[in-house]
């Protein structure tokens, strides 16, 4: 079981990073970005596709990150332009549609056969008992923590962070104060696209290249973000790592496959009910 849990730490690192991105997007862009991982998936697949005709690895990776950032920016632009005043649900609805489009486009453009990913990190880092902790695991966990810390620092210590927070809580007031909402919003989307694509580029070479499965890791990542109520970054990281380890541990037990599949759902439900236990009436409605 413990070995399974350690084996699941790699997925946990992925969930944690995506959870941090989701939390930041929720706070700053007022949206639950269902297409978060799909954007990264598309960018990663693009860089592999570019590496085919002989583009050097590092350049292909950079271009892939740019592709992911651009896609994320386009979605953000659409939302910021037409849905600036809409509520979270409608804005998130657009990301649902984007998720659909991105997965379908990846089938069309990249096909469904395995792609020759060249790993950026490969092999083992160290061994715990009989389970090998891969380099990817270590890198992902470090990245998750680093992104969380960086986000917190930017949001609380910099002027940019202040502007972003003002923009997210009171968009109209911020506009009146001279904070240019659309460029800042799109900027947030672009940065989240960069981070996500970078992480997916790291993790994709070690996994089977199924566009749908990869994009759907947004579900356990959302469960992890919910631990922090889409507000706290530290809990998002912890939630992601714990969820990954739980998932790995449960995978070892053959009979509990069903529980394993429903784990994110149960976590989500449990957390939401707990978080909203005192709330009876939504203030605004």
């Amino acid at each position: 079981m413990i070995q399974g849990a350690l084996a699941g730490l790699a997925s946990g690192g992925l969930y944690a990073t995506i959870a941090v991105c989701l939390t930041v997007m929720s706070r700053l862009a007022r949206v639950v970005n269902f297409a978060q991982v799909a954007v990264g998936m598309f960018g990663a697949f693009s860089s592999v596709w570019l590496a085919g005709p002989g583009v050097p690895m590092w350049l292909a990776t950079v271009i892939g990150i740019l592709v992911g950032a651009t896609l994320s920016g386009i979605v953000g632009l659409v939302i910021a332009t037409w849905l600036a005043e809409a509520d979270v649900a409608v804005r998130s609805g657009v990301t649902v549609a984007a998720l659909l489009v991105l997965i379908a486009l990846s089938f069309i453009l990249f096909g469904t056969k395995p792609l020759p990913f060249t790993p950026i990190f490969r092999g083992a880092a160290f061994t715990v008992g009989t389970v090998v902790i891969s380099q990817i695991t270590v890198v992902l966990v470090i990245v998750a923590v680093a992104v969380a810390v960086a986000a917190r620092l930017v949001l609380t210590r910099t002027l940019l962070g202040l502007r972003l927070r003002a923009l997210s809580e009171r968009p109209i007031t911020a506009e009146l104060l001279g904070i240019r909402s659309r460029p800042l919003s799109v900027g947030v989307w672009i940065v989240s696209g960069i981070v996500t694509t970078f992480v997916v580029e790291i993790v994709a070479p070690s996994q089977s290249n199924d566009a749908v499965a990869l994009s759907m890791t947004v579900v356990p990542a959302a469960a992890a973000a919910l631990l922090g109520a889409f507000r706290r970054l530290d809990l998002a990281v912890v939630g992601g790592l714990v969820l990954g380890m739980l998932d790995g541990a449960l995978a070892q037990l053959q009979g509990l496959a069903l529980l394993r599949y429903f784990l994110p759902f149960l976590v989500i439900v449990g957390l939401l009910l707990w978080l909203q236990r005192g709330e009876v009436w939504d203030v605004a409605r």
Binding site: G8, T112, P114, L115, S208, N209
Partner: protein, 399 residues
């Protein structure tokens, strides 16, 4: 609301009827009766979209038919090949079958490569009196239906072969099985493994048939197999999942494991994408391996595939063979080529040999069909990125 609903209903009905008329008017009219130049309509149902696609089989069959048409057709009649997509969705597969059988009035199905066509449409083909030469049969019904005869060994026969090769030729002692089950394939895989046990007297150390199809991370299952002390892993994974397993094993630093896979992973893309493969991936190729110098057997196929830029995979071989067999049977028909005459010819045919296959293929009147019972062992070693021959002759299943 009444007026609007009625208007919508009328408009839609009109549209559908128009479309229907154009569809039935366009394709070959009637049963293609005597001495005319109307095309011979042939169809196929394939997984062409969604997460798992096998487009090469029908592409290869089309290449064969195009070549035949260029050479003048059959008795002056051209072959019109309808390639339909079932999107891995049973309702779409059933609709596709109906389009081929009823709208297009095809004489036979040739070269289908689908995960569900046989299971969904098997009975329908029996009712319609039409035969199907599967380019690649996957689900169990492709081998247990009197109206379907596949040209490939099939994943079940292939399973028995790869396990037998692993235990008897490679001398692997402790084999773990990671099996992905979809649809009604469970019992068939179990039976295939049991057949291996019976003929070799050996047993699996671990059998896990809860391995998910299309998961993104197979580490837990690899860890389980490693913990059980296995020196070989058998899996029926398709290409993406196979890569996932290989990567998980490499990440775990498991370098002394041998992988026993099925023909479904025999493709150049797989070889390029797989970097570290332990002590090697061994596959009993259902058709003559096309990599390396054995191309003599595959010369005609290779020429056709490269001319039409079709990816070189076992699916492409299967589609090519299905079409080639079909054309040969067509040429043997004296008189009109209709669904009935084609069915009769396939029932009465003598087995056809082809250097690409280890055993001759036939349709015949049996209730089940499993003509291809031989595989050519090939291997993929770490760091090579290419498939190589592992034997000099066919490896045959005993029964």
């Amino acid at each position: 609301m009444k007026i609007k609903a009625a208007a919508v209903a009328t408009a839609t009905t009109g549209l559908l009827i128009l479309a229907g008329c154009s569809a039935t008017g366009g394709s070959g009219s009637g049963g293609g009766s005597g001495g005319d130049t109307s095309p011979i309509v042939v169809g196929s149902v394939n997984a062409l979209s969604g997460p798992a696609t096998f487009p090469e089989a029908s592409q290869a069959a089309k290449a064969v038919f195009d070549q035949v048409n260029k050479d003048g057709g059959i008795d002056g009649r051209k072959i019109q090949y309808q390639i339909l997509d079932d999107k891995a969705d049973p309702a779409t597969a059933a609709a596709a079958a109906r389009e081929i059988v009823e709208s297009d009035n095809a004489v036979a199905l040739v070269g289908s490569a689908s995960l569900i066509d046989c299971q969904v449409n098997g009975q329908y083909y029996q009712q319609a009196g039409i035969l199907s030469i599967q380019g690649t049969g996957v689900d169990q019904d492709c081998f247990q239906n009197p109206n379907i005869s596949a040209v490939n060994v099939g994943p079940y026969g292939d399973t028995t072969m790869t396990l037998t090769y692993g235990s008897q030729v490679l001398g692997l002692k402790k084999i773990c099985a990671l099996v992905e089950i979809t649809g009604n394939t469970g019992p068939a895989y179990k039976a295939a493994i049991a057949a291996w046990s019976q003929s070799t007297g050996k047993h699996l150390v671990l059998e896990d048939d809860t391995v998910p199809y299309g998961a993104s991370d197979y580490t837990p299952y690899i860890v389980k197999a490693k913990e059980a002390g296995c020196d070989a892993v058998y899996s029926n994974a398709v290409e993406p999942d196979g890569i996932g397993q290989l990567k998980a094993a490499a990440a775990q630093g498991w370098n002394d494991v041998t992988f026993l896979y099925l023909t479904s992973v025999y493709s150049e893309q797989f070889a390029t994408a797989a970097a570290q493969v332990g002590k090697g991936v061994y596959v009993p190729a259902e058709f003559a391996p096309y990599t390396n110098a054995n191309s003599a057997k595959n010369a005609d196929w290779l020429k056709l595939m490269t001319a039409d830029k079709i990816p070189l995979t076992s699916f492409a071989q299967g589609g090519y063979l299905a079409a080639t067999y079909f054309v040969q049977v067509l040429k043997s028909i004296k008189g009109d080529i209709t669904r009935d005459s084609v069915t009769k010819a396939l029932h009465d045919m003598t087995p056809i040999s082809n250097p690409m296959v280890g055993t001759p293929w036939t349709f015949g009147t049996a209730d089940t069909h499993n003509s291809n019972r031989a595989g050519w062992p090939i291997k993929l070693l770490s760091g090579t990125g290419k498939w190589q021959l592992a034997a000099v002759d066919w490896f045959k299943l005993n029964n």
